[in-house]
Subunit: 266 residues, 3 copies
């Protein structure tokens, strides 16, 4: 099942519009290329709608935001929504300022992204805005990632991915717990951003299959983290590790993913 | 002939003002350093003219554009033109939006860059704007890169480089076909941007010799792609390849370029 | 003494707000992670003050400036100052335009950063603005880095680091001359930016000890440049070197720093 997602992506090589950030744009573009898809980067309201029209998927990343970038995210998101193209939303640091928080809530409401990926704290920030009136309280912090993911998926209609020591992937009905990955991935900046554009690439090539595309990306990227870790020599550190993760995705076959994916239905 | 271009660059170590983009700025700066030149990055209308004055060459790249960046490109380009400094123009994604298309045409007309480098589709977009009134029609798409390059070179007065499975370099009179390079270079983001800043570095150090500087850069960068590919181990993928390309340029000698360059006069 | 700075940083893992630039943001984030601290990047006036509040240190870098970025640097700097948090200022290319020069002087006066790091020419540009009325003349250019550093430290109250073939670290009273480092570091873009965020990470974790934190960062980063150079194979060039420097910091122990640091009191 997951292998087919990879194969479709390499075969279709969809153009994916990635609106990322100052820190991780290069790694994200290289990861999309390693997946077999093609990235295009455009960030200004002057052109994003036209760029969306030429693409088969869109990734909206909240990192290093400015009012102009938020305007562009909303415009691009609305265009993709109108055209029925898969949109992945990564609410990077959504809780770190009122500015990001309110931008995240607007994106959620106006764009209604098909996939949302964040860590537990970011997902919780989204959840507060979405369903506040339905009685979500401060106890969220104590909730486990599965409960958070289910709640946001059901409230928003999106496939939700919560990244953490284990990852959750759910559409609000079926939920998967993924065991792939390696703790050293936290030593590399932008692994969350990279996972989000990978979901974008897989979803663009498999638009009718958002849940499986997201699951495949989470398993594949985590597996690459494992394979890259095995490859580390005694002097290799976090920068070599960053390189090896992308190398691993470049070589990842459908078969290797089928064998290496470790997940279960919750 | 080509070797001397490299040697001059390492000896003169010219300061090159690179106006690149969000995705490839780091790679471009490191590639310029590996060529023996020095990069300086500045993107705002508030300072670009002054920065141009301190430099010996300028590279204008259309990637991730905003109205403010376009204004800066035009200002910097006009300053370099007035000072007789080599300007390389890379019309990244020129056809992907009206915004880029019209910005590209303004740069072409107002700056009159000394070198233009793009893929066939980007060169065609430029050509449509330049010589539309002279009867260029939709058949351009069917034209071969050599015809496109010659047409744009003759219409604009620039040395034109068309990147593709083979590369064309021409000043409208003499035309070279370059066979260096490796298909895996398409798996790395920004190889076009990198080639453009390399042309900028070589042209800055060899200002009277635009055509040979461009040819040297195209051969050198393609040769680095070949050398880097030979170096790949079984686990190395596109991210290691990216590193090895820059490594190869760092070590490339005039002699190695003379021996490894594969081109012919068309 | 220096080893303790590293250990505190890994233990405390402070969040450091890094306002860097288009070219080096990714490397800076990865270097901060390799030091054991956590980077957060935010560049817009709309949110920087709130982000500063969540962090234990701030780095202000003048690279690729725009009026909006300068406004954000000043706002963030003022917030950090009000909250008594360590601020490191890196006046990248301060002399390359009037725009940067006047921005640099405003930051110096309004933020009064606790640490300033630059090369001799950047430090001199700052010095001209600070103490012009006290009779600094054009002879500065001829002055040695130690004299420049002492003068700026005394005029500004900051710990000043002057990078060069040897580095100077001083608070205006005690001054250190550091012999760590390798000339090949000039072949990698952004090594100055990286050193500045490393000072920021160490200062954030050791706020009462700015001078020692800065000295530890200068020794540690230079030592990483030496270790990375020893590791180079025959085909490795400047891009592999860039990777190995960050790798080296990832592995650097307190003990290795104590043994490898080479400095003397001037």
């Amino acid at each position: 099942m997951l292998g087919r997602i990879i194969d479709h992506t390499r075969k279709a090589s969809p153009l994916v519009h990635c609106m990322v950030n100052l820190v991780t744009a290069n790694d994200c573009a290289n990861l999309v290329l390693a997946s077999g898809a093609s990235p295009i980067m455009a960030e200004d309201p002057a052109e994003v709608c036209e760029v969306v029209s030429a693409c088969r998927g869109l990734v909206l990343n909240l990192g290093t935001p400015s009012p102009r970038k938020i305007e562009a995210l909303l415009l691009a998101g609305a265009a993709a929504k109108a055209q029925g193209k898969p949109v992945v939303f990564d609410p990077v640091g959504a809780g770190c300022s009122d500015f990001r928080r309110s931008a995240a809530h607007r994106i959620l409401q106006e764009v209604q992204p098909g996939v949302i990926r964040g860590n537990a704290s970011e997902i919780q920030t989204l959840l507060r805005g979405t369903v506040a009136q339905r009685g979500v309280d401060a106890d969220d912090a104590a909730q486990d990632p599965l409960a958070l993911a289910l709640k946001l998926a059901q409230a928003s209609g999106a496939v939700v991915v919560v990244s953490g020591s284990e990852d959750i992937v759910t559409d609000g009905k079926t939920a998967y717990r993924v065991h792939n990955g390696h703790p050293m991935m936290h030593s590399v900046t932008g692994t969350g951003c990279q996972l989000s554009v990978l979901i974008g690439a897989y979803a663009a090539a498999n638009p009718g299959n958002r849940l499986t595309a997201a699951l495949a990306a989470v398993c594949a990227y985590g597996l690459c983290g494992e394979l890259a870790h095995k490859r580390l020599g005694p002097l290799d550190g976090s920068a070599s590790y960053r390189t090896y993760i992308i190398d691993a995705l470049y070589h990842l076959s459908a078969d290797a993913l089928e064998k290496g994916a470790r997940y279960e239905i919750c």
